[in-house]
Symmetry: C2
Subunit: 536 residues, 2 copies
């Protein structure tokens, strides 16, 4: 087989391309607006070159991890360019996690540096004490850095690194993003340069972004969906508008004042935004596209949203392991869905068709391919597929089929046009307000309470969060505990969004199968009887 | 540096993805219409699986070359799927070349099999005699194969190969496409699976294709631009309509009868189509997009085309070595160009902005980066960049910079928004009717005529072909030859489109520089005085 005559490490794409293209086409255009801060692409590229030099000047070597704990900001955005293109690995942390979870993750990734903003500085100081590999903190905020810490802006003023590190390659790991797991221990998903670039390009076909777009970043930048849009919008030279988090009044104001054209929401946020009294008074006419993720939009909510908001709709389905996009339900699909044709309307409850570049198959339990309409596991492959979990060879091996496809764990059927109808999360996951909650993580936390004998955690319907975390608990004989006791106990151990919103305490044991397994489906079904039929 | 835990050869994309996605989303949709032949995507995929099995059943090994010499047809389309996914290499030949050129190329690629249609069968038989490595011909046409040849349809009926060969990889070479060269000897550009997949995805952002598209393949399938659209349209599940070649009456009829929505033309064809008397009577309302390549569209022609035709316009610039797209001038650019704003109007003469994923820099002769507006060489990099020329390590080394970027040889300046204004072809190339003609190839042919002392070949303006090949010749003292003699001599040696359309014979020597180099620019400039100013 002839091999390439000249080895070119960048052959399959590295993360320097988005910013370099933006400088080529849009140097003097505003790249980012964050409150009173604004930078052109040339200014941003200059800062990023300084940051690369500054970070490597700290004695970090290729492949070293830099953690981050911060709300959305222009500095957080810069981190997604500076760290990977210095051939360092960004371990961007979910700030909603409990301190104990963050400690586990920072120790697992072995990060040597932690970037943190003012909001998360106390937690960061605590992590510096508790994580042996962690050497120093970097102040990722306005004003001067606290004593003993470095400032991000000071790093940006370092001697710029304009050439790529010699070992930067499409297969270099750019980020490690932790995801909850069925074993109760978060796992670090390695995302390579090639993964993130491939995902970005695949995204831009079904979900095109343009130079004239003004994109509101309100979903957290540590999420894979946020990262995909950071690179996608930069590649086309659009303008990033920073929003520290979702709050309906603020979002309406920013859309109006900043002439936002695109944003990402989860269905819960769409619902809250529509119900917010201030929304109707806003001029939202600049808003052309709303991307939503995490779950299909219930048809009544979608109808109301399409009626009251000026934008088109695009649904994305994916997971951190696919960096993250697997499939998309496009604006065309949404328009057709409300056209009155029942085939198209039914597809509004689907997760759309595979992204270009992503191969999808639906597998039976025996590994054979399911027929059309038959439920099986979604198994996928593509250039955006992670190479594996950080330092977890066994869990990595279990995540893939023998022929190298990723097992999503989600169960779905496919119609004749390749639309994916997800019917269950095989990994026993709840999607609440757009965040994934693995029930085993919650169950592990609850089981550590001394009064608990048995527990089953599952999602129940919720107006605001789509699904809410619910726990059914059997107490040990002779022990007592209230629902509030259980909730307070969980709050110490796991992130607030994972803590049960409701708890049912039982004095008798939970129902079990002949083999002694808790019949979670039987416990769950009474909550969903009305809903399941309306979703299909 | 952590390396991927599981080696996955398909990581960066292989050419099985387009057809597998089409089967997933569009199995029972018509994939291809070719005269009375039509196949759904499922039928096409079944034939392709059979062809992969059939080809490998001939004793071919991974990396072996299969040549092709054929007009556009559904079988030609199938070859672009079956050959690369069997991990064989498709050497698709330019049927406009002279037999001597084809012989050189087939010997150079070392193809063991040659696919040919009825039109090219006599040439194919001749090549079978002349090319030692060539073992057999395959009949790529209707009816049964001539004695001693295999039939493509018989191969398609072989035991299907549904799994990918174990060594198929993004870096496997999928095609070798020959391009003329400054040395006078065609060079085979290796195009990998990863190259072609990357180009396809980059293309689909600026030039989106959709499932509802009906694409007219009228530019030859051996051209890189044709190949890009073969994969792009399949990826989205659109319908391929085959046209054996450009003829204005036929093209108008097919657009009307087949409800064509997209096609690729070169400016010469647009001009001929507009001037054809039958065009005005056609219902062309289905036509939404015309992609043109090879050169910018003169503004008067573009105005007329936008006035008389219903489609939008997209210009592509590239070369075989970039598989092939470097930049694109989008429909938005065209609309803005006619809006009256002189900045946007000037950009109609540009080659647009870089494709997403392609890095572009403009280099001075000393390797430094040119300023905005300053002319330098276009130097590019991206996942669609060839790994090199087949068996030409020295020419490969010369084609790249020390840091692994491809030297296009084209001279351009860039404006503040990254639009490429190509001012000259450093490789001394004429673009005539959309085909590249390297002047050294023509000069070599002319010099072999016994009466010729000196020759300079260059392009001159031509209403129909944009540029026409012109030769200025000084004859040897005491020798005589007419322009017709020279043209007839060339016709034996080089493809018809390379043969000079006009010849000026001189009795005195050609003008030369102090160093004795022929002053081609001085000879060329009188023909272009009016034109050059109108282009900028």
């Amino acid at each position: 087989m002839p091999t390439p005559s000249i080895p070119i490490p960048h052959r399959h794409g590295t993360l320097d391309t988005p910013l370099s293209r933006a400088v080529f086409t849009s140097a003097d255009k505003v790249a980012v607006v964050d409150g009173t801060h604004r930078f052109t692409y040339r200014q941003m590229a200059d800062r990023v070159a300084g940051l690369r030099g500054g970070l490597l000047g700290l004695g970090l070597a290729s492949g070293d991890r830099v953690a981050g704990l911060a709300l959305n900001s222009f500095r957080h955005l810069e981190a997604w360019f500076a760290i990977p293109t210095a051939n360092l690995i960004f371990n961007d942390l979910n700030f909603r996690l409990a301190p104990a979870e963050l400690e586990f993750i920072v120790n697992d990734s072995g990060a040597r540096i932690l970037l943190a903003d003012a909001t998360h500085w106390p937690v960061a100081l605590d992590l510096l004490d508790r994580c042996p590999a962690l050497e120093r903190l970097v102040w990722l905020d306005d004003g001067s850095a606290p004593d003993g810490a470095l400032g991000w802006d000071a790093l940006a003023a370092a001697a710029p690194l304009t050439a790529d590190p010699p070992d930067l390659d499409a297969d270099s790991v750019a980020g490690i993003t932790y995801t909850g797991g069925t074993t109760g221990r978060p796992k670090g998903v390695m995302q390579t340069h090639g993964n993130l670039i491939a995902n970005t390009k695949q995204l831009l076909w079904a979900n095109p972004l343009f130079a004239h777009d003004r994109f509101l970043h309100l979903t957290p930048m540590f999420h894979s969906a946020g990262v995909a849009n950071i690179y996608g919008l930069t590649l086309v030279g659009g303008t990033h508008i920073i929003c520290p988090g979702f709050e309906p009044e603020l979002v309406g104001r920013l859309i109006e004042e900043q002439s936002i054209s695109v944003c990402v929401l989860v269905p819960t946020m769409v619902n809250m935004f529509l119900h917010h009294p201030g929304t109707a008074q806003r001029d939202l006419s600049s808003w052309r596209l709303c991307i939503y993720a995490a779950s299909p939009m219930p048809v009544p909510l979608l109808r109301r949203a399409m009626d009251q908001l000026p934008c088109e709709w695009n649904q994305a389905y994916g997971m951190t392991e696919m960096c993250p996009h697997v499939s998309q339900l496009t604006p065309d699909d949404h328009r057709l869905g409300l056209s009155g044709d029942p085939v198209f309307e039914a597809r509004l409850a689907s997760a759309g068709q595979p992204c270009i570049g992503v191969d999808v198959r639906i597998e039976r339990a025996d590994g054979t391919i399911a027929d059309l309409g038959e439920v099986g596991e979604i198994v996928v492959r593509g250039p955006n597929m992670m190479p594996g979990y950080w330092n977890r060879p066994e869990e990595t091996a279990r995540a893939f089929t023998d022929d190298g496809w990723y097992r999503t764990g989600d169960l779905a059927s496919v119609d004749e046009a390749g639309y994916l109808f997800i019917v269950d999360r095989a990994k026993d996951m709840i999607v609440s307000g757009g965040e994934n909650v693995y029930t085993t993580e919650v169950e592990t936390a609850i089981m550590s309470h001394p009064a608990v004998l048995e527990v089953a955690v599952f999602g129940i319907p919720d107006e605001r969060w789509v699904e809410a975390v619910h726990a059914e608990i059997a107490l040990k004989a002779g022990h007592e505990a209230t629902a509030d006791d259980i909730i307070a106990h969980c709050r110490m151990l796991i992130g607030g969004y994972k803590v049960p919103r409701s708890v049912t305490l039982r004095s008798e044991p939970l129902p079990k199968s002949g083999a002694g397994k808790i019949l979670k489906k039987d416990l769950r079904s009474p909550y969903w009887t009305d809903r399941d039929s309306s979703l299909t």
